[in-house]
Amino acid sequence: MTAFALTGPASLRRAIAIAKPSALPGFGITFGFALAYLSLIVLIPLSLLVWRASGLGLGGLLGIATQPRVRAALETSFYLSFAAAALNAVFGLVIAWVLTRYTFPGRALIDAMVDLPFALPTAVAGIALAALYAPNGWVGFWLDAWFGLKVAFTPLGIFVALTFIGLPFVVRTVQPVIAELDREIEEASATLGASRFQTIARVILPTLVPAILTGFALAFARAVGEYGSVIFIAGNMPFVSEIAPLLIIVQLEEFNYAGATAIATIMLALSFATLFAINLTQAWSRRRLGHG
């Protein structure tokens, strides 16, 4: 396997020669160890997945992807992740703005709590959301009583869970950009006669667009692959509220490795495409605005 060859002693020596001469010691051993560890834990397992998928061929891959149940699960994951990321883009922007620009009692607490979805195990989030939005839950009861809205065990529940786990991505991507906004830009806009609304719409928002898009894409990528926080609230009904990651597990339990591999590969391709889009957005904004 090529990945093994990369870590072999010959290429190690080459790597040592590759590094520019430095007075500092330890490049060979640290670089060699890091590369070996990376290969063993990440690169080889992931390339095995791709290798397995290539064994299916494009036709086989598409055949599995277009099976009605698989297709439904992929669509559920895709559309709901998109919707949740979009909601987060809007509210995450407002939260980032309020946390950066305003002072109010409890601001530090709210700021710290935005990171909770990063720190809280997804299973815990999952059962908590399920309990909240269940027909007898704190929120679910009133949503049902007032609007006749059922959230838990419907696609809406998936949407709620994906919103929960995606929120910090938008807030934490947009926040530093707002903090670095030059107040003089806003003042310049005002001296030229622009109302506050015009300044926000024409000057501030366009500057934030790359960060908002990046946050949206990160939230989307995370949501597509999310499992723990969703399965408790989703109901997991095939064709209705079954997400793609869950279907992978279902296929595995049926020892259908080909099916699991195919779905996983499609999801992997989707997250790499998202990652690529993020890099493009950032390169574009760097070129255009002269910053990252």
């Binding site: 520019k20 007075a23 640290t30 690169l43 946390l99 710290a112 195990p121 299973a123 309990a131 996983a264």
Partner: protein, 291 residues
Amino acid sequence: MAEARHAFQGHGWRPVAAERPAIRRVLTVVAVGFVALFILLPLAAVFAEALRKGVPAFLEAFTDEATLAAVQLTLLVAAIAVPANLVFGLAAAWAIAKFEFPGKSLLITLIDLPFSVSPVVSGLVFVLLFGSHGLFGEWLQANDVKIIFAVPGIVLATIFVTFPFIARELIPLMQEQGTSEEEAALTLGASGLRTFLTVTLPNVKWALLYGVLLCNARAMGEFGAVAVVSGHIRGLTNTMPLHVEILYNEYNFVGAFAVASLLAGLALVTLLAKSLLEWRYGDELAGAHRH
């Protein structure tokens, strides 16, 4: 002082780069409301559900042997995964930050890779490697080595999903710090190892702690990847998050939320430590923190 004094600072004047007070209030309410609804309320629900039947029922949940075994396994997994990724993070950061070599940015991208892989897929790749139908499945069975549906698989999956945490805290910070301090130590006669221990390590200690905290929180809380490789064997291959699922599916809600509250407590401690680190040592952590 005969001329009129036109004091108008108190009212009527607002900073040019700011919204009207009414709009500020509306936006603040919207922001706080959204965080309260989507983040604070679920957190409160964990503790409320755990204590729904009173403190004794809550405490009783921890007398269950399977629960205690799950706690033990979680601690064991974190105790392996975190140090392993710590050593990797230090080695990778040293090679990347202190030396110039081609392909460096590709290497950084590859290190971040596990973040963009679904946890379920992270588990799946190890099943494809070591599962009974996997690449090494037959050989492992023949030699009676169990990785999938056993502790080694859980450890591997956990290492995979927590892989980038420490490295990505260290790399930008060490790149920013450059090599001049290490070179100074070497010219003063310190050995390479001594330079690392006395110069490099103290310079990155808070970022290291920060990375370890985040890595540990994820290691103890990982669910999806571990669910795929564990096999859910009670008392043997159940970590705390998996145990939460089992209890929940058995309608033992108090038990499920009791274990969940322990994990939520861990998350809160992590957030508190993280906030303290950012507040106290913000300058000594790497530039912007994006996860």
